[in-house]
């Protein structure tokens, strides 16, 4: 299977040993195993090392502005609901600069997958605190350590009413791949927060740290129980991975009065000049 892979070498801008490499493999495998047609898959991303992912997967993409990947993705999926739309970026991009779009797109419940590479630090701008950096992390700006409360994306998504809330770890490739596949198959907005180490700038939250602080939910876990999910999400010592929460809900095309069950992309809906004439000169 070579779909989503390039038939030539590509120059990848990540640091050697970066957690983004296994994430790329996981993502491509997930897309391949679901047998998706690459012409029907679109990535939307912003700025940052994680946001470069679309460059390295052979499919359509819109790599736009810092923090705005979700806004663009939301419109793409609204305009052509038949596409598989993946909004992808890092914790700074999606939870910091793009925070408002995160909140309001959970409310919209667009049919898209939101993948956030969460390494708890800024990479591309060289090591400043991100919205998920733990208190005490020393950075070039927070010389005495981070003093602001980190954002809890899982708890936030649950509180906002997300219908799919999942967390993975790039060190657990097989399980994270299955998590992404489940997110792609979900109807509506699916957030997948993926822990992964930044080998250059985060010396606290290392591969070993994630390994010892995370655990995977097993089959006995009931993923439709929101309070149980919230309890897991609020536990910052033992970090649960897997599908924390999933229920059926009405996605954007099922909610917005525009569609009425018709998912025909907008570019195929032609406007009849006769209808325009009737609106412009109604008395004729």
């Amino acid at each position: 299977m070579t779909k989503f892979e390039f038939n030539h070498d590509i120059d990848i801008a990540w640091c050697p040993g970066c957690g983004n490499f296994p994430l790329r493999n996981i993502l491509i495998k997930a897309l391949q195993e679901l047998e998706l047609d690459p012409t029907q898959v679109v990535f939307s991303s912003g700025i940052g090392q994680a946001a470069k992912m679309p460059q390295y997967v052979d499919a359509s993409y819109f790599n736009g502005l810092h923090g705005r990947g979700m806004a663009v993705a939301s419109a793409i999926s609204a305009v052509n609901p038949k596409l598989t739309v993946i909004a992808e970026g890092g914790d700074g991009d999606m939870y910091g600069e793009g925070g408002n779009h995160l909140i309001h797109n959970i409310r919209r419940n667009p049919h898209l997958i939101h993948i956030v590479h969460n390494n708890m630090v800024y990479g591309l701008t060289k090591g400043q605190a991100s919205p998920t950096s733990p208190i005490g992390l020393i950075t070039p700006i927070q010389l005495d350590g981070v003093y602001n409360q980190p954002i809890n994306p899982m708890a936030l998504a649950l509180a906002m009413g997300a219908t799919f809330v999942g967390r993975g770890f790039s060190g657990d490739q097989e399980k994270t791949k299955e998590l992404i596949k489940a997110a792609i198959l979900h109807n509506g907005y699916a957030i997948v927060d993926i822990f992964h180490p930044c080998v250059t700038y985060n010396k606290v939250n290392t591969f070993a740290w994630y390994k010892s602080h995370t655990f995977w939910l097993d089959e006995t876990y009931i993923k439709t129980d929101k309070l149980a999910a919230m309890k897991l999400a609020l536990d910052e010592e033992k970090l649960a991975c897997g599908i924390l929460f999933q229920v059926e809900g009405k996605s954007y095309p099922q909610r917005h009065p525009f569609y009425k069950g018709d998912l025909t992309p907008l570019y195929l809906r032609k406007r009849d000049p006769k209808v325009i004439e009737k609106l412009i000169n109604p008395t004729k």
């Binding site: 052979d58 993409y61 705005r68 806004a71 663009v72 305009v79 992309p265 325009i276 412009i280």
Partner: protein, 560 residues
């Protein structure tokens, strides 16, 4: 200045001024030339708002400062309008409302509330006033009653007959008003439609194929969004209220990327938030249509007033260099052409196109006979992709054919970083130069597609008067009624890039006067920069009001 009658209604927000305005204008447009506009305070209830209705026997599209007949809706409706009162202005109202009027002015008590009660309900008060004014100016009572019937039929027969009774009572009194004006009706007249700028821009967007709208509410840009949502019952338009203006323009760009014809609408403050995305449209060569409804700034400024001070903002918004187009409607009917053309140009040249209007132009009611649209503007430039498709291919036409994801066998790779033909990030200096020149070359291509200025007035073309946007109507009336001044009026509907066709005309002129509704002469500066000339005179107004015809005539007359 045309012979005209100016009637002003003054009261609080929520007192029904607009209903009386609509009734009067709809009735009058069956038999005379009429223009109306309102000025309101930024509040939902209370304060003091006024509506001006100007009637003439010749076409008009301008307001007059001095008032002939003023109707007060409460006891604090006079003060703010006192500078607009002249010796023979007649001020009408209930006795208590007239107490605030200095005795030197001519007042006339009319008990509209009593008339309403006689007709059966105090709620008919505004209809009684409508009847009175209709009687005064000898408007057709048949037309008026037909309107009343149409408006109230849904509410039941009693409401219709009550309102008609109130109208008749008012009408009879108005007919015998000793101060009623001389008849001012055109000898030949075909009934016209009255519409607002918002009405025509809405239709223009539909004629341009709009099918996606993302916007965040901000006066006076919101109405376009509201009206397109209403029209989405008749045509396919997906309207989404964005969480902020940043999202709005990013969504519009994403929508075009996926194959929509998308629009956002806002005012200066909201547009300021969009500027980064304007730049995104620049490098990604994404079409975008952005309606900027101007109001006075800086910052929150005067939220409900008018100004033309965001030309520089729209002209320079966004970091980096890239082509754009700015269109501004002047005549009411230009709204259809400008807005539909914006979609076509955005699609054809893969650029952001701005439609620059203002509160005054959007909310004034004026007359049209027949509106036309150009079906050409519906044409889509989207191509079906092949497997080896490259979004940013160097094409002979100068424009890289634009594919959309999911349509064809190719991938559509778009990047906000500098990119190669395929859309992959590059740091190659030569690729940078090639891509940048390809984008900027569109300026040259766009010269084939200029919306030419409207030229009227003196044929000598030595003494030019230049304008753009909403000042068209008032300037035309001033010049048509004063041919002795010898001005040639050149009105620009395409504000940027400016047409080369008038370069000779502008360079050869003996004098150039520019009239604008702002404080620094932004358009005059653009004219100077573009044509390498010096503007002789700038006429500027920036108190939040549009130009009034009598005011403009006085200004122009002073320095002849």
């Amino acid at each position: 200045m045309r012979d005209s009658i100016t009637i002003v209604l003054s009261g609080e927000a929520g007192q029904g001024l607009q209903t009386v305005e609509e009734f009067l204008v709809e009735t009058l447009t069956q038999e005379a030339y009429v223009f109306s506009s309102k000025e309101v305070m930024s509040r939902v209830r209370g304060g003091n708002n006024s509506v001006e209705i100007r009637i003439s026997d010749h076409p008009i599209q301008a307001l007059r400062y001095t008032i002939d007949y003023l109707f007060l809706f409460n006891d604090h409706a006079f003060d703010r309008l006192s500078p607009r009162i002249k010796k023979d202005t007649v001020i009408y109202g209930e006795a208590p409302f007239l107490k605030s009027v200095p005795t030197k002015f001519k007042t006339k008590e009319v008990a509209f509330l009593d008339l309403a009660k006689q007709a059966g309900n105090r709620l008919y008060e505004n209809t009684a006033m409508f009847g009175y004014i209709a009687g005064m100016i000898d408007a057709s009572s048949d037309n008026a009653k037909a309107l009343i019937t149409k408006r109230f039929t849904k509410r039941g027969e009693d409401i219709v007959s009550g309102n008609i009774k109130a109208f008749d009572l008012g009408y009879a009194l108005g007919l015998v008003d000793a101060d009623r004006p001389k008849a001012l009706k055109p000898l030949k007249f075909t009934p016209k439609r009255v519409m607002t700028g918002n009405d025509v821009l809405t239709l223009g967007a539909i004629a341009g194929g709009v099918n996606y709208v993302a916007a965040y509410p901000m006066s006076p840009g919101t109405s376009l969004m509201t009206m397109l949502e209403e029209k989405s019952r008749d045509v396919d338009i997906l309207v989404e209220q964005a969480e902020d203006e940043i999202a709005a323009l990013n969504m519009v760009i994403g929508a075009w990327y996926a194959g929509a014809r998308a629009l956002t609408t806002t005012s200066g403050g909201g547009f300021a938030l969009m500027t980064e995305a304007v730049s995104l449209a620049g490098i990604t060569e994404s079409p975008a249509v952005v309606h900027v409804a101007q109001r006075p700034g800086p910052a929150t400024g005067l939220p409900t007033r008018t100004e033309q001070a965001d030309l520089n903002l729209v002209l320079y918004a966004g970091h980096g260099e890239f082509p754009r187009m700015i269109l501004a409607p002047g005549r009411l009917e230009d709204g259809i052409e400008v807005m539909s053309r914006a979609f076509y140009m955005a699609d054809k040249y893969q650029i952001p196109v701005f439609v620059l209007s203002d509160q005054y132009w959007l909310e004034s009611m004026s007359q049209v006979e027949h509106l036309e649209f150009n079906p050409k503007y519906l044409e889509s430039f989207v191509v079906k992709t092949e497997r080896d498709y490259k979004r940013y291919a160097f094409d002979q036409s100068g424009i890289s054919p634009r594919g959309i994801p999911g349509y064809g066998l190719g991938y559509v790779k778009v990047d906000s970083d500098e990119h190669d033909e395929e859309g992959m990030i590059t740091e190659s200096f030569t690729m940078r130069v090639d891509m940048h020149e390809k984008r900027l070359h569109k300026f040259e291509l766009m010269k084939e597609d200029i919306l030419e200025p409207l030229i009227s007035g003196a044929t000598e073309k030595e003494k030019l008067l230049l304008s753009w946007g909403s000042t068209y109507g008032v300037i035309e009336e001033a010049l048509v009624t004063n041919p002795k001044w010898g001005y040639t009026h050149v009105h620009f509907t395409q504000v940027y890039p400016l047409p080369t066709s008038v370069e000779k005309l502008i360079r050869g002129a003996k004098s150039i006067t520019v009239i604008e509704n702002n404080a620094t002469g932004q358009f005059a500066n653009l004219i100077q920069m573009t044509y390498g000339i010096k503007v002789s005179r700038r006429i500027l107004k920036y108190n939040g009001e549009p130009y009034h015809i009598d005011e403009l005539v006085t200004i122009l007359e002073e320095k002849q």
